[in-house]
Symmetry: C2
């Protein structure tokens, strides 16, 4: 396809999206009306999967539903070109709680002041609808572009995708693609699209220490050992006063290649958004007073260890006097590329043992490694160029999200380089009440995906294989 043809297709795509985006807002409305809350194991998960499957079938996709014990995964494929792109999404959503804080029905898309409200509009149903629109805008040209488009849409992302690995392994040949688009991307305050080239991994453990066999009246406290004091000691042992993790080897094993790529990207990243986060959270300073490039490096290249929750004894209102039977902490550890969570878990257990806590019970809630894509990959260049054109400025490419996701299943197991795209923005209140997107980001997001597909076909064709 020559430059003229590309230019012609591009203008048709823009025209299509500008004229037709309302139809995809309607589809988003249908999607949001399903209470497909993964945590509820709702029957509407299956109904939503079938609705998505029908939408794809209507467009000529070859569709199958796969399951490895969880809600069905929708696998759909259109076109027969030699270049394949795979889009990952999920039709499940977080619970809407606390309901009383919503200003409209979470399961009904409500438009107000250029915004669309509803559970899942940003995470992730809005992206499903926009990507359908993007594919529709290109449908007539797929053959000409020599492109094959796949959707992989799962239904338990919000509970940690427990069976995703099994589904991908079972369908590994089908899943393979030359490039992929991850579930989201968010428009930043400066109007640029934020794209993360990877996600940290996750090692979520709960560490429990035991005291008396039952909660006992704290009149006995002079004699009965209270597990709270040992838990406090255990926690103090995990980090230095400066916040460095003391588990031996915790910072080891990070991929040198990743660090080199990350350094290049960090030089171009803006620190401003983090400064705004700091002030929004009412913080005088970040850990160790980090700012600028140092803060970006900490956030995007270092493994982290955080206490998400601590509990012991009576935690209700007012007072109750007991020596608690248990004291526990929920810890999320986020490894970075190159690190093996199994190794970190082993080191953690050995460290606990060596510091006097061999009796600590360590329950693993989830464990997976990090995954990332090199910034020079054709799919990344395709999305960056598309973003520059659609959003009018360079996207912010982060080496990793600060958050975690099992992207390694695609990047490392199916070996698909992945990029980001998305219709949400910095104010989308993902996972919270009044989740929303801006209508204009929905339109831009649709164009961005369409152009990414277009660029990927063209760029791929001109890149060495």
């Amino acid at each position: 396809m020559g430059y003229d043809s590309v230019s012609r297709v591009k203008s048709r795509v823009f025209k299509f999206v500008d004229e037709s985006y309302g139809r995809y807002v309607d589809i988003l409305g249908e999607l949001v009306s399903f209470k497909s809350v993964a945590a509820w194991k709702s029957e509407e998960l299956g109904e939503c999967a079938r609705y998505v499957a029908d939408l794809l079938k209507e467009r000529g996709f070859r569709v199958s539903l796969k399951s490895a014990g969880g809600p069905p995964v929708v696998l759909a494929e259109l076109g027969s070109g030699s270049r394949t792109i795979l889009m990952y999404n999920h039709y499940d959503v977080q619970p809407p709680d606390p309901l009383e804080l919503w200003e409209s029905d979470p399961f009904r898309v409500t438009a107000r002041d250029g915004l669309l409200f509803g559970r899942g509009v940003a995470d992730n149903k809005g992206n499903i609808a926009a990507r359908l629109g993007a594919v529709d805008s290109l449908a007539d040209y797929l053959e000409e572009l020599d492109l094959r488009v796949k959707f992989f849409i799962e239904g338990e992302e919000e509970v940690g995708s427990p069976t995703l690995l099994d589904v991908v392994r079972d369908s590994l040949d089908w899943v393979k693609a030359d490039g992929g688009i991850w579930e989201t991307g968010y428009v930043r305050r400066d109007g640029s699209l934020g794209i993360s080239l990877g996600f940290k991994g996750m090692l979520y453990v709960e560490i429990v220490l035991k005291g008396p066999s039952r909660d006992v009246h704290s009149g006995t406290a002079p004699l009965v050992p209270n597990p709270v004091w040992r838990l406090a000691k255990l926690l103090v042992n995990l980090k230095t006063e400066d916040g460095f993790v003391k588990i031996p080897g915790f910072y080891d094993g990070v991929s040198e290649e990743f660090l080199r790529d990350a350094e290049e990207l960090i030089k171009k990243l803006s620190y401003e958004e983090l400064e705004e986060l700091k002030s929004e959270l009412g913080l005088k300073e970040f850990v160790r007073g980090l700012t600028g490039e140092e803060a970006l490096r900490e956030l995007y290249t270092k493994p982290s260890l955080n206490a998400s929750g601590v509990y012991a004894g009576y935690t209700g209102r007012g007072s109750k006097t007991i020596v608690p039977s248990l004291a526990g902490v929920k810890i999320d550890i986020r490894p970075v590329p190159g690190q093996k969570p199994e190794k970190i878990l082993e080191n953690l257990k050995r460290y606990l043992s060596e510091t006097g806590f061999s009796d600590a019970e360590v329950v693993v809630h989830s464990m997976y490694p990090s995954g990332y894509t090199k910034p020079g990959e054709p799919i990344v260049r395709a999305s960056v160029e598309a973003a520059r054109e659609v959003y009018g400025r360079d996207p912010e490419l982060a080496p990793l999200s600060g958050g975690s996701g099992p992207i390694y299943i695609f990047t490392d197991i199916a070996r698909i380089p992945m990029t980001g795209a998305g219709v949400g923005y910095y104010g989308s209140r993902v996972h919270a009440p009044n989740e929303n997107i801006r209508v204009r980001d929905f339109v831009l997001g649709m164009k961005h995906v369409a152009l990414t597909l277009l660029n990927f076909s063209r760029l791929s064709a001109s890149s060495p294989k």
Copy 2:
């Protein structure tokens, strides 16, 4: 009254109790049927108070109801002798939760295998009923005994008696008495009656540390300070590894006289019951491996500091990934006689400040000093002698309960020496499902209180004033 008369009264008392205790079990049944749960601020609190008042009026008591904002306190007085004894009780009870663990309706006295089940049968309605029976058994002799009997029955003991001090201060002249009987006493495994000559005080504080202004996704954990680490440090700072409290002055100010009295009592106390507690709780050893007299001394004469609850972030099932906005600990401190809780609070706050926690919020939930009665007081000698006769062995006199109670309002403000008596036993499951008493302890408890009254009048008459 000569020895012969005392002996004659005593045998009439025993006969009366043996023939009539069933009537008082019926009264207990009526009392238990009121859902007088203080924590519920139930209307049945007032109804129960009026029922108790009516029971007393029927017996010729001069009754008034007083309130300082809480449920009414029943003040009742019978006789006009020169020696006055005051019995403290409460008609409110703990909530029955968890309901599903009860084997019968908690608000209906149910007899099974010589036991009476129901919320409040031990704490404290059973004692109200038994003491009514004791007074009835002596009613004809009060004038002869030169005795005046008072009941002080409050309705918010189970929520910490927040207005008790005000009621006593408002009625101080009425409250005054030559001796008093505290709410409970429990029969021990060896068949002896356990009497505590005092209670520790209470300083219940909640210490809260703040992090970000809201819970925030822990993807930001590399940068956002998490208050959990500081709470752990704060807790570790409060105690040595051996469990000694590090707050300066924490062990200071204990009454020398109390310590001397306590040492005498500790020599006669058995450690066995504590050994049983240790094994029941599945503990290998007590704090610092304490046993025997050392363990008794720690429990009965030392102030304690305990963490009743700790909380931060997500404490539900499974996983959630946040940097918590708050981390808090609920701490109960129990001062012993001579110690001022205000001073301990001041020292705690200064210590927090000096150790880097000047930003810690310290909320005081309750604060009152310890109170105790010297073992040589006539009322104590009266109850000890009565216990020896009724239970067939010396009672176990503990210098203090390990627990707390605002007994100082009676011992220190109204200046009434107090002793213990009660119908419960070691298996009474106070505050728990299936609260129960043994019918035989109900009978013995009734006799014990009657004999205590009888002894107090006689002993008082023969003691120098």
